[in-house]
Amino acid sequence: MATATGQTGTVAHGGPKGVFPPFNKDTFGSQLLWLAIAFAALYLLLARVALPRLAAILEVRRGRIDDDIAQAGKLKSESEAAIESYQKALAEARAKAQALAAAMRQELMAAAEQRKKQLEGGLAAKLAEAERKIEATKSAAMAHVRGIAVDTAGAIVEELVGKAPGKAAVERAVDAALH
């Protein structure tokens, strides 16, 4: 190194001894000493104070976020349960309403049926009555028809023959003709 000092001219006159400063062994001792002190101090301060503090902050945040996510999950499942129960209640109410409506319809239909039957029964009775009356009238008329026929037949025979026939004979002849 000593031989180089004089020869590396342009470089040399910068330093006090003309040695390239990073290779100047005279400064190594104090540099190493202060580096050791500074590095150890930095290591201790970081490892004991600063990094645990940062780690704690990050840990708290992570815990908080996890808590919040768990909370959100719980709320979500709660709301889902609420929706489910609401839908169940809705379905129940709907079924109830449908059952009610069906029962009502049944009742109404039964009442209508009954009234219809009553009405029909009344009508049938009136019809029977009317038929009976017609029958009675008809038979009465028929009875009158026989008398008239007998009278008429007697009168016709008297007119034709000139002599009134026996009432019994005419009645026999009319009955034979009628039946």
């Binding site: 580096l35 970081l46 704690a56 902050i57 708290v60």
Partner: protein, 261 residues
Amino acid sequence: MKSNGLKEDASDMDPIHQFEIKKIVSFGHIGGVEIAFTNSAAFMFGAVALIVGGLMLATAGRALVPGRFQSVAEITYEFVADMLRQCTGEAGMRFFPLVFTLFSFILVLNLFGMIPGLFTVTSHIIVTVALALLVFVTVIGYGFWKNGLRFFKLFAPSGIPIYILPLVVLIEIISFLSRPLSHSVRLFANMLAGHITLKVFAGFIGMLATGLGVFGFVVGILPLSMTVALTALELLVAFLQAYVFTMLTCIYLNDALHPGH
């Protein structure tokens, strides 16, 4: 290369000058080695104060919904934790304080260096070697403490035919031993080379301006824009080297935790 317009141009134009270690207070000699509080030490403690103070201030509110600063602290925490977890699994989380310390320390020191006029601690090889050796010793110590002699399986990957095994073991051992070298020199060389390049291009501006007058000011826009672009690149490198250093630390720690993979 010398400009004649400036006195003491060595300190202004010399790209090496920025790496000079200056004594602030000297505590005398211990065993022939001078112990002094230097600008390098001041920046180390500045980084420690910034990291610890920043983290404490950012987390002072302990807000559930983080503010801007607390978000930065949390993102950094998660970033390093994910990196470590991805490489080593949950078993590696015991090294989280170490890995976080390494990452934040190197990142802040690298970024300090990007501020013009400030000293770059990580551009000194003794610092990066010390950090890399710390990781190396941790890996070896923890590897033997946890796995015992099974730690040697690290050098004999499974599924290798027996006749090339000696060669593979030799290569593995060499690559294992060269780890602290590449680990430390990568950070050192990136910081050193980046800052030298920046300083050289920035020096061109001064040289053009003092040497060529008005014409120099006009042409000086070229190295100026180059310096701006390089500053952006160096910011990326400052972050990337801290990331790479930490990522490699995680990968090496994984070897200590699970040898024979």
